[in-house]
Symmetry: C2
C-alpha cells in the first residue's frame, strides 16, 4: 500500500498538469485522490473511500447548505477559491444558528490546471476546515476539456447541528422596532480585493479579501445574547441582506452612512469603479439584528474576537417606511436603498 | 407578492436566455429562483428561502454524498443532466444502505443558456426527486461568461438516514468465498447512449441511458435479504467496482462473460468504438454481492421491480487469485480485468 501511494505521487508529479484522465474514475483519478485530496483532507470518515460518508449526528435539527464557487481569479490577496469555499459554507451554516460539522467538496477542473495550483487550493481548504473545526468527509472530482471551465470551480455543501433554541434566528421572526443592526467589521473588502486583482488595478496593497470562518465568533455571541436575526453579507452585500429583511418582515430599516465601516482604500476604489460599498460582496461579515438594550454589550463582546474587532452598530429597525431601507448619507441627505437589479460584480465568489 | 411573482415570470420570459445578472444575488437572481427553481422544487423547507435548509432527522447515522455533473451533451436519449444528477446522488446514498432524504442542488450556468433548456432540466430533477421520494431543500446558482462552462454543470449533494444494521454494506466486510455477484440489468447503456448522442452516430435508437433512482429496489432487497456488499457501477463501469472490491478485500472474483447482460446494440457500438462494456458507465445499475444460498431468491425478488427485471448473476467470489478479477470469455478463454488506466469516456456524467 505504501509503495503504491509513493508510485502514485511520482506519477502525478511527472504529469504536472491535470489531464482529462484525472476525472475518469480510473487509475489517474485514484492517484489524484491519494496524492492531493487524501493528503490534506485526511480523517477517519473520508478514509473509508466510499461514495457516501457515514456520519453520526445526535438527535437534533440539521442545517444543510450548498454553494458553488466560480470566483475569478482563483488566487487573490487574502485567499483563494478553496479558502472562500470552506469559509463560505461554514458561514452559511453558522448564520443559520448551527454548529458546522461536516463538509463535502466537489471539484470541476479545467484540463491543464497545474497540479501545484490545485494543491495550494486544497491545502487552504484543509487549513480553513481545521480553523473552523469542520471535517471534510466526502468529495468528487470532474475534469473538463480546456475552455469548458475557468481553471477550477468548487462546490462545498455543509451539514451543521442546530439546537432547537436557535432554529428561528435565520428567519428573523423576533425582530422588532428599535432593534439595532450590528456588523462585525469593514465592508466591501472581498469584492474590491477581487476587482483589484482581476483588473490588475493594484491601487492599494492593503485591500485583502475578508474570507474567514465566523462560526466561533457567532456561536459565542448567540450563546450569550438574544439575537433576533443574522445573515452573512456575501453576494449583493449589506444592502441586499437588509432590503430582503425589510421586505420580508414589513419593518423599515435606517442606516447611517457616517458609521458604516468602510476602509478609505475600499471607498476610493469604489468611487473610481463606480461601485457602492453597500452592494459589494463580503466573505467574512455577519449582520446581526439585536435588542437595543443588548447592542453595546454585544458590540463589546464581538470586538474581543479576531474577526470582530472592527464591529459597529450601523442602523436600526423602525416602524416607519415599512419594507424600505433608508440611508442617512454623510452629507445629510436620505436615500432609499434598493435591491441590486443586475450583475454588479460577476464571479465574485 | 402574487403580482411580484407574475412580473418576475414575465421578465424571465422576455429575456429567454440566461444572463450574467441571473447569478448576481440581485433582482434577476430572485426572478430566476421564483420562476424556475421554486416553481418545480416547491416544498416547505425550500420555501423558507434561507441559505441553509433546516432539517429534522431522527437519531441515527447519516449518509452524505456529493457529485458534480458535467455530462456532454446535457440532453440525451433517456434523460438529461438533471435527471442524471438526482438519480446519481439518490443511488450513491441508497448503495450506502441509507434511505435518501434530502438533496441540495447547485447550478453553474453558462451565460446564454436558453431558459427553456434550464427549465426542462429543473423539471426533470423535480420528477426524479418525486419518484425517489427525496426533497430538494437548498440550492445555489452561479452564472459564468460564455466559454467558461459548457451550457450547464450541476452539483447534487444528498443526505440519507442510515440504520445501524446497514452501516457495513458499503464496506463489504461480510463478503466471503462463494458469494454470488448480481447486477440488476443491462450494462453499458448510459455510456453508449451518451457517445451515440455526442458523436451523432445514431446507430440504434433503442440505446437509452439507464439513469433511474434505484432506492426503492435497493431498500426492498436489503430489508428482506442479507446483502454483503453493494455499489452502483457508474464511471469506470462494472469492472472498476469489482477490481476495487477484489483489491480492497483480498478475495478473487470470477466473472462469466456469457451471462453478462449487454444489449446487442450496445455490444455492437462498443465494438465499433473500441470500448469494453465492462468499463462503460451505468447510471441505474447496482452490483450486489450476496450469499450463494440467497442468490436465486434475491434475483427473483429483484426481477419484480421495474429497474430489476433484467437482473442476472454475473460471477462469484473466490479465494483463488486474491485481489484479481478474472473474466471467463465467451470463446472459452480467461483474462484479467484491470483498473482503467486513463480516460475512456470523458464527461459521461
Amino acid at each position: 500500500m505504501k509503495a503504491h501511494v509513493q508510485l502514485i505521487i511520482n506519477i502525478v508529479m511527472h504529469n504536472n498538469t491535470i489531464l482529462l484522465g484525472h476525472g475518469s474514475g480510473g487509475t489517474l483519478s485514484h492517484e489524484l485522490l491519494e496524492s492531493i485530496f487524501f493528503k490534506y483532507f485526511k480523517n477517519s470518515v473520508l478514509e473509508k473511500q466510499t461514495d457516501s460518508a457515514v456520519l453520526h449526528v445526535s438527535p437534533s435539527h440539521l442545517s444543510f447548505t450548498t454553494d458553488s464557487y466560480v470566483v475569478n481569479p482563483i488566487f487573490f490577496n487574502g485567499g483563494n477559491i478553496g479558502k472562500l469555499a470552506v469559509s463560505g459554507t461554514v458561514n452559511d451554516l453558522a448564520v443559520s444558528g448551527a454548529k458546522p460539522l461536516y463538509i463535502s467538496v466537489s471539484f470541476i477542473i479545467e484540463e491543464g490546471l497545474p497540479v501545484q495550483e490545485l494543491e495550494t487550493v486544497v491545502q487552504s481548504m484543509a487549513e480553513e476546515a481545521e480553523k473552523a473545526g469542520v471535517l471534510i468527509v466526502t468529495g468528487d472530482t470532474k475534469v473538463v476539456e480546456r475552455g469548458k471551465c475557468d481553471k477550477l470551480y468548487i462546490n462545498t455543501t455543509g451539514i451543521g447541528q442546530l439546537e432547537e433554541r436557535f432554529t428561528n434566528i435565520s428567519y428573523g421572526t423576533r425582530v422588532s422596532k428599535g432593534d439595532r443592526i450590528i456588523i462585525n467589521g469593514y465592508i466591501g473588502d472581498h469584492g474590491i480585493a477581487i476587482m483589484n486583482e482581476r483588473e490588475s488595478l493594484h491601487f492599494s496593497s492593503d485591500i485583502a479579501s475578508d474570507a474567514e470562518p465566523l462560526n466561533h465568533l457567532i456561536s459565542d455571541i448567540i450563546e450569550h445574547y438574544p439575537i433576533h436575526f443574522m445573515r452573512d453579507a456575501t453576494r449583493g452585500g449589506v444592502a441586499t441582506v437588509l432590503v430582503e429583511l425589510a421586505s420580508s418582515l414589513g419593518f423599515g430599516i435606517e442606516l447611517d452612512e457616517q458609521v458604516l465601516p468602510v476602509r478609505e482604500s475600499v471607498k476610493g476604489l469604489c468611487e473610481i469603479l463606480g461601485f457602492d460599498p453597500l452592494y459589494v460582496a463580503n466573505e467574512g461579515k455577519v449582520i446581526m439584528v439585536v435588542p437595543e438594550a443588548e447592542a453595546q454589550h454585544i458590540l463589546n463582546r464581538m470586538r474581543t474576537h479576531e474577526y470582530g474587532k472592527d464591529a459597529a452598530v450601523i442602523g436600526e429597525i423602525t416602524s416607519d417606511h415599512p419594507g424600505k431601507v433608508l440611508l442617512h448619507t454623510e452629507i445629510g441627505g436620505k436615500r432609499i436603498v434598493d435591491m441590486l437589479a443586475g450583475e454588479q460584480l460577476p464571479r465574485i465568489c
